[in-house]
Symmetry: C2
Amino acid sequence: MKTIQAVSYPVHFQDKAYKELSSLITKNGYSTIFILVDENTFEHCYPKFIPNLDSEKRIEVIEIESGEINKNIETCIGVWNAITELGGDRKSLLITLGGGVITDLGGFVASCFKRGIDFVNIPTTLLSMVDASVGGKTGVDLGVLKNQIGLFSNPEMVIVDVDFLTTVTEREIKSGMAEIIKYGVTYDIKLFKEIKKNKGLHINDLIFRSIEIKNEVVLQDPKEKNLRKILNFGHTIGHAIESFYLESEDKKNLTHGEAIAIGMVCESYISNKLLNFPETKLNEIKEVVLSIYDRINLLKEDFAGIMELLKHDKKNVNGQVNFVLLNDYENHKLDCKVTEDLIVDSMEFYNF
Amino acid sequence: MKTIQAVSYPVHFQDKAYKELSSLITKNGYSTIFILVDENTFEHCYPKFIPNLDSEKRIEVIEIESGEINKNIETCIGVWNAITELGGDRKSLLITLGGGVITDLGGFVASCFKRGIDFVNIPTTLLSMVDASVGGKTGVDLGVLKNQIGLFSNPEMVIVDVDFLTTVTEREIKSGMAEIIKYGVTYDIKLFKEIKKNKGLHINDLIFRSIEIKNEVVLQDPKEKNLRKILNFGHTIGHAIESFYLESEDKKNLTHGEAIAIGMVCESYISNKLLNFPETKLNEIKEVVLSIYDRINLLKEDFAGIMELLKHDKKNVNGQVNFVLLNDYENHKLDCKVTEDLIVDSMEFYNF
C-alpha cells in the first residue's frame, strides 16, 4: 500500500514501513531506542516486530500493565523514571507498540520528556490503526475522565502492519469497526455501504481508506475547531456510556467500539428529531450496528448516571453539552444543543 | 516601556499590560479565569493584581505550596483536579502569578489540560521576569532532576510589572541579577559593564534589555538547536551545584542566581583554559560576581557528588556533558567537551 502523508509525518504500511524506520533511525542518529509495550504486546507483537528492526542501536524495552485503567499520569511517571534510569537523553527515540492506551500514553510521555523526544507509533489493534494512528492526539485519563490530560503532538512516523491483527480477538476487531462506520456515515457513504453489504471486504482496504479519511479531516482542521469535530459523531453519548460501564462494578466493560456504536445509533436518532436526518437512514445505521454488535440493554435506572458523565465531556463549554449531528449522510451540523429528555429518548430508541 | 513581541505573543509592561489583558479576555470570550498562586504571591501579589483585572468573568484562585520542592507532577495533578472540580473547560484561561515555579508549572498544567488551554504569565520575581517570561519553556522536576518533564509552549501574553519586586527580598533580586550578568557576558557586554560600574542603574532598564536579548536569541533558535544554548552559560555547573545543595540536608539552599553565578566563574575559567578566553576578563567576571554574592566555600569532599549530578544534565547526549564556553565576551563556542579534572580545577579556582 502507498504511504499516506499526514500533517508532518508519513503513515507507512507493511514491509516498506520497516525499511523507512531503519532509514529514520540511521538519519537521526538516535542514542537509544526505547520500546513501550504492555504484557500482551510484549508477548505477541514484540517477537514479530523485533526481527524487522534493523539497527545496531541500544534497545531497551519498557513494559506497562495493559488496560484503560492504567492510562494515567502515575503510569507516565513510572515510564519517565524508567527512561531516566536507563540513561535516556534528548536524542532517544520511543517506539510505541500496542493499542490506543500504549500509543496515546507513549506519545504523551515522549512529548514531555526533556521537553520532547521523537516517537514512532506502531498501532497493533484495528481501533488504534484507524483512529489513533493519525491526528496527533496524545494523552491520559484523569480519574474517570478520558484523555483529560494531553497534547497535540506528532510522531516521526506511523507504521501500520495488519499482520498484528492476528494477535487480537474478534471482539477487538469489532471495536475498531465502529470507527470505520463513523467515517462512512459522516464522510464517505461508500465505505459504510461496503461494510453493510460485504462483511468479507478486505480489511487492508478498510484500514487504508479510513486512515485516508481521518487524515483529510485532520489536515483541514488539526486543532478541532470545526470540521474535525465530525470525528466525535457517536462519541458524546458513546464516551459517557463507556465510562459508566467502566465505573459500574456489576457490569462487564464495553469495548470502545461497542459503546461508540450505541452512541451512533442514539445520535442518529437525535439527528432525525432535530435535523430531519432521514428515518430510513437512521434505521439503516441501527440495523448495521445490531448486525455486528450484541444488543446491550441500557437500564432506565442508569440514565441519570450516564447523563452526569456527559456533563464532563471535554467538548463542553460553559456547561453546555455540544453534539455534532447529521443532516444527512456525509452532511453534518456542529455544536448542536440537545435537551436531556431527547438524550433519554435516544437511548430508549436504541433499546427497542 | 514599549511592548516586546516574542515568537507568537507580546510581553507588555506596567499599566499598558493590564489594558491589554482586559482586551484579550474580552476578545477570546473565556468561560472562567483561573489564577495560580502560592501562599506568598496570594498574600502579597494577588491584592496588587486583582484591582487591575477588569473583567466580569468568573474568577477562581488555585493555591499551591511555594518552593522548588513542589515543582513536580504531583502538584500538577492537584491543580488539574482543582480546575476540573471548579468546572474548567477548553475556553478557560489560566493566569500564573508568581516566580519561576508558578510560571513554569502553570504553563505546563495549562498546556496539557484538555490538550491545551490559554495561559498568561505574570512573573513576580526578577528571575522569572528576565528568564522565564520569554522562551516558551514550561515544565516540572522529576525527583531531583530539574525540568525533566515539560514542553515548549507559549502563553497568550506576558505581563511584566516591576511593582511586584517590592514584594520580594534583596536576596531574590540578586538571584535574578545572575541571569542579567549572563546576558551581558554572552551577548551584550555593555549590559555587563553597566552592572559593574553602576549598581544603581534603573532596574526597569536592566529588565527591558534582558528580555529584549533573550527574545532575540529565542526568535533565532526557539528549540535550542544552536544559538539558544548560550543561555545555558554558567548553568551546566551551576545547576549541578544548585541541585547538590538542595539535596544536602546539612547545607542551606542556594538561590538559582547564587549557584549560576558560581557556575559562570567556573565556566569562564574552563573557557580560559580551553579557548584562551582572556584572563583579565575571567578575573573581571569573578570580581563582579563576588561583589554581589557572598562567597560559598565549595568543599573538596562534595566535588564527586556535584560531578554525579552533572551527568544527568538535560543537554547531555550519549553520556557526554556538553558545555557552552566563551572565546571572548559576546563570542561563544557550543558543545565543548570538558574533562572531570578541569571541572574540579574550575571549582578550586572559584574557591580562591
